[in-house]
C-alpha cells in the first residue's frame, strides 16, 4: 500500500469509480460473448491464475491451502497466448464443450481499491480486490455456479485500462463442474 495515498480524497473516489466501470464493462464483454474484444483488454504480459484449493490443518492455510503461481498444477496458470488460443477454439464453432455456447453472467461485487501507483491522481497501475459470482447455464439442464475472490492488477492504457494480472480464488476444493470452459 503506497503510504502517500489519500483514501478519502476525491481522486481516490474518482479512480474507484473508473475502475468499477472498467470491470463491469469487461464482464459485459464476456457475457455478450465478445471474446476478441475481451482479449484486447489483456496486457501482453498477462498472468491469469486460478489455484487449486486444498483442505489443510488450521495454521497451514497461508503456506499450503492454495497451489502457487509458477509451480505445479493449478486450474489456470497461463499467459495471453494461451487465453487467445482458448478464444480461437471457441470461435472454431466445433469446440463441443462450448458449442452450443453457454449462457454466462458475471456478477462482480465488493470492489475495493487496494493500491494505486504512483498516486490516485495519476494512477498508472492499480490493484483491485473484488468478489465474483459467475453463473453458467448450458444446453438444457446444466447449471454451474462459481463464487470466489479476485485480485486484479490493472495498468493504464490511454483512456482505459488493461489487465496485467488476474488471480481468481474459487471457493471449491473438488471442482463441482465438469469443465472450466468459460473465462473469469
Amino acid at each position: 500500500m503506497s503510504a502517500t495515498l489519500d483514501r478519502h480524497g476525491l481522486a481516490w473516489f474518482q479512480l474507484k469509480q473508473d475502475v468499477e466501470d472498467f470491470l463491469y464493462a469487461e464482464a459485459d464483454l464476456l457475457d455478450q460473448r465478445r471474446f476478441r474484444d475481451w482479449l484486447d483488454l489483456l496486457a501482453d504480459d498477462l498472468v491469469y491464475f486460478m489455484p487449486i484449493r486444498r483442505n489443510v490443518k488450521f495454521g497451514q492455510h497461508d503456506e499450503k491451502e492454495n497451489t502457487r503461481q509458477g509451480e505445479g498444477i493449478s486450474w489456470f496458470d497461463e499467459d495471453k497466448w494461451t487465453l487467445a488460443k482458448r478464444v480461437d477454439q471457441i470461435l472454431t464453432g466445433v469446440h463441443y464443450a462450448e458449442e452450443p455456447l453457454s449462457r454466462v453472467t458475471h456478477m462482480v461485487s465488493n470492489i475495493r481499491l487496494l493500491d494505486a501507483s504512483p498516486s490516485a491522481e495519476d494512477a498508472r497501475e492499480v490493484t483491485v480486490g473484488s468478489r465474483f459470482l459467475v453463473h453458467q447455464n448450458r444446453v438444457e439442464y446444466e447449471t454451474y455456479t462459481f463464487i470466489g475472490r479476485r485480485t486484479d492488477l490493472l495498468r493504464r492504457a490511454g483512456a482505459s485500462w488493461q489487465i496485467a494480472r488476474r488471480e481468481m480464488i474459487l471457493d471449491q476444493n473438488v471442482l463441482l463442474a465438469k469443465n472450466l470452459s468459460i473465462f473469469f
Binding site: M50, I52, R54, N55, V56, K57, T67, G70, E71, G72, I73, S74, W75, F76, D77, E78, W81, T82, K85, R86, D88, Q89, T92, V94, H95, Y96, A97, E98, V139, E142, N173, V174, L175, L176, A177, K178, N179, L180, S181
Partner: protein, 450 residues
C-alpha cells in the same frame, strides 16, 4: 456366487453389442461396487506424495475414502477412512504428516500403522469389553508399490500385482520410467479432482483405446496447442511417432493400450521446438533411452487403461487418471500429473504449462471429451434408449495374438480393447474365480479369433 442380474444378456462381444443398462442402471452400479471394486487392484497414490514416515495422502477406492499412510517405521498402508466407532471420516486433510490419526467425533486415535491406540475413559467405560487389537482401522489386505505407484486391493485372494498387470507392464513402463529410460523416477507435481456427470466407464473406455473419437478434438487440432505450436506445428501435441506402427493391444486381465511400435531403426523427431533448452533435453533423453532400452525403446505410449479404472497418458501429456464412481451417472475424476523428479526446472515448467492447457476440466483437449461423456450418459438413460444396445462391432476379429507384441494386437483402429474389457467386466459381475478374471481359462470369443 452368481449374479441375479443377467449380465450375459447385457454384454455380447461376439456380436459386438453392449446394453446401455450397464452404463445407467443403479443395479449395475451397485454390482460393480460390490463385485468389481472390492476385488480389482486399484491405483491409490504415488510414493512422491508420502516420502517420509508419518506422511499421508487421502485417496479413494471405488466409493470409499481411503488413507494412504507411511507408518513411522516407513511401511506404506491403505486404510478405510472411517472410524471403527461410529464411522466418522478420520482424516479430512488431503495430505500431511502425523503421528496419530485422531477421530474428531469421540477422539479415538489410531497410529500410522492403523492400530487403535487412544480410547478416552477406557478404564471406566470399556475395561474388559473392548480389545483394542480387534478395532484397528480397516486395512486393505493387499498393497503393492511399482516404480513409484502404489496400488491396493480389498480381496485377500487377489493375485500379486505383477500377475494382475501381466504384459501390460511394457506399456505402463513407458509412463513410469524416466524419459531417458532409467526405471521409475517420476514424481507427482499436482492433482486435479473434479465431478463429471457421466458414467465412469466412458472415461475408462476413452483411454483404453478409443482412437476413433479423434474427430471430437477437431477444434483443438485446428488451433494448435502443442509444445511446438509457436514454431508452426499444428495439432495438440508434437508428432514424435512418424513411421511408427500404431498398435491397439488388449490383455486377458482386461487392460487395453494404444501404443506405437517404432521401426527397428528410428531417429529422434524434434519436439518442444519453441523451448530450445527443453528440446535439447528431450533429444538427449531420446538417445539415452534407445541406448538403455534397446529393442524395448521401440514401444512408445499414447494412452491406456489398467482394469478397471486407472487410465494413463504416456508422454504428451503424462499422467495417471482414476475414475471413481459416485453413481451410474456421476464420476469423481482424479488426475495425477507426472514428470521425471530429476528433470531440470525449465523442463518441468514447460511440461506443467502444457499439461494444464491440455488436460482436465480446464484443458482445451479434454473439455470436449467431458462434454461427450456427459451427453452420451444422459441421453442413454431414457426408457426407449435403454432398449437399444451400443454398437461395438468396429474391427471385429481383426487382431493377432502375440504378434508383434504380447497380447491381442490390432494394427487398425479397433473396439477390440473395449470388447475384451467388458468381457472381463462381466466375469467380475458373475463373481468368477481369479483364474477366470486373469483370463486363464479360454473363452469362446478368443478361440474364434485365433
Amino acid at each position: 456366487m452368481t449374479t441375479h442380474l443377467p449380465i450375459d444378456r447385457m454384454i455380447d462381444v461376439d456380436r459386438g453389442q453392449i446394453s446401455r443398462e450397464i452404463f445407467v442402471s443403479p443395479d449395475y452400479h451397485r454390482e460393480e461396487l460390490e463385485k468389481l471394486f472390492t476385488r480389482a487392484w486399484l491405483f491409490v497414490g504415488h510414493v512422491s506424495q508420502i516420502p517420509n514416515p508419518g506422511d499421508f495422502f487421502v485417496s479413494r477406492m471405488g466409493d470409499g475414502s481411503v488413507i494412504l499412510a507411511r507408518d513411522t517405521q516407513g511401511t506404506p498402508h491403505v486404510f478405510l477412512n472411517s472410524c471403527r466407532h461410529r464411522g466418522m471420516k478420520v482424516c479430512r486433510y488431503e495430505q500431511g504428516n502425523t503421528s496419530l490419526f485422531v477421530c474428531p467425533y469421540h477422539s479415538w486415535s489410531y497410529t500410522t500403522d492403523g492400530r487403535l491406540q487412544g480410547v478416552p475413559l477406557y478404564r471406566t467405560l470399556y475395561d474388559g469389553q473392548l480389545d483394542r487389537a480387534d478395532w484397528s482401522l480397516v486395512e486393505t489386505p493387499k498393497i503393492h508399490e511399482y516404480k513409484g505407484t502404489i496400488w491396493a486391493s480389498w480381496d485377500p485372494q487377489a493375485p500379486d500385482f505383477m500377475t494382475y498387470l501381466g504384459d501390460a507392464v511394457d506399456h505402463l513402463d513407458q509412463v513410469l520410467d524416466c524419459r531417458d529410460g532409467r526405471p521409475g523416477g517420476s514424481e507427482v507435481i499436482g492433482i486435479h479432482k473434479w465431478i463429471l456427470p457421466a458414467n465412469w466407464k466412458f472415461a475408462a473406455e476413452n483411454f483404453l483405446g478409443d482412437t476413433y473419437h479423434n474427430p471430437s478434438h477437431r477444434s483443438v487440432d485446428m488451433i494448435g496447442i502443442g509444445p511446438s505450436a509457436q514454431r508452426g506445428q499444428g495439432g495438440r501435441r508434437d508428432n514424435e511417432y512418424n513411421n511408427g506402427q500404431h498398435v491397439w493391444v488388449s490383455f486377458p486381465q482386461g487392460h487395453g493400450v494404444h501404443s506405437v511400435l517404432m521401426p527397428e531403426q528410428f531417429d529422434y523427431q524434434p519436439s518442444y521446438m519453441q523451448y530450445p533448452i527443453v528440446e535439447e533435453y528431450f533429444r538427449h533423453c531420446f538417445h539415452e533411452r534407445q541406448r538403455r532400452l534397446k529393442d524395448k525403446a521401440r514401444i512408445m505410449p499414447f494412452t491406456g487403461n489398467l482394469f478397471p479404472n486407472t487410465s494413463y497418458h504416456g508422454r504428451q501429456p503424462r499422467g495417471l487418471c482414476v475414475w471413481h464412481p459416485h453413481s451410474p451417472t456421476e464420476t469423481e475424476a482424479w488426475r495425477f500429473f507426472l514428470v521425471d523428479a530429476d528433470a531440470p526446472a525449465e523442463v518441468k515448467d514447460v511440461l506443467r504449462r502444457f499439461y494444464m492447457r491440455y488436460s482436465g476440466p480446464a484443458g482445451m483437449t479434454e473439455q470436449d471429451d467431458m462434454e461427450n461423456w456427459l451427453y452420451a450418459t444422459a441421453s442413454s438413460t431414457g426408457t426407449i434408449a435403454r432398449r437399444y444396445p451400443f454398437n461395438y462391432q468396429q474391427s471385429i476379429g481383426a487382431y493377432k495374438t502375440g504378434s508383434p507384441l504380447p497380447g491381442d494386437v490390432s494394427v487398425q483402429i479397433t473396439e477390440q480393447n473395449a470388447r475384451n474389457y467388458y468381457q472381463v467386466y462381466a466375469r467380475y459381475l458373475k463373481g468368477d474365480d481369479w483364474d477366470s478374471l486373469l483370463g486363464r481359462s479360454t473363452h469362446p470369443a478368443q478361440q474364434a479369433a485365433e
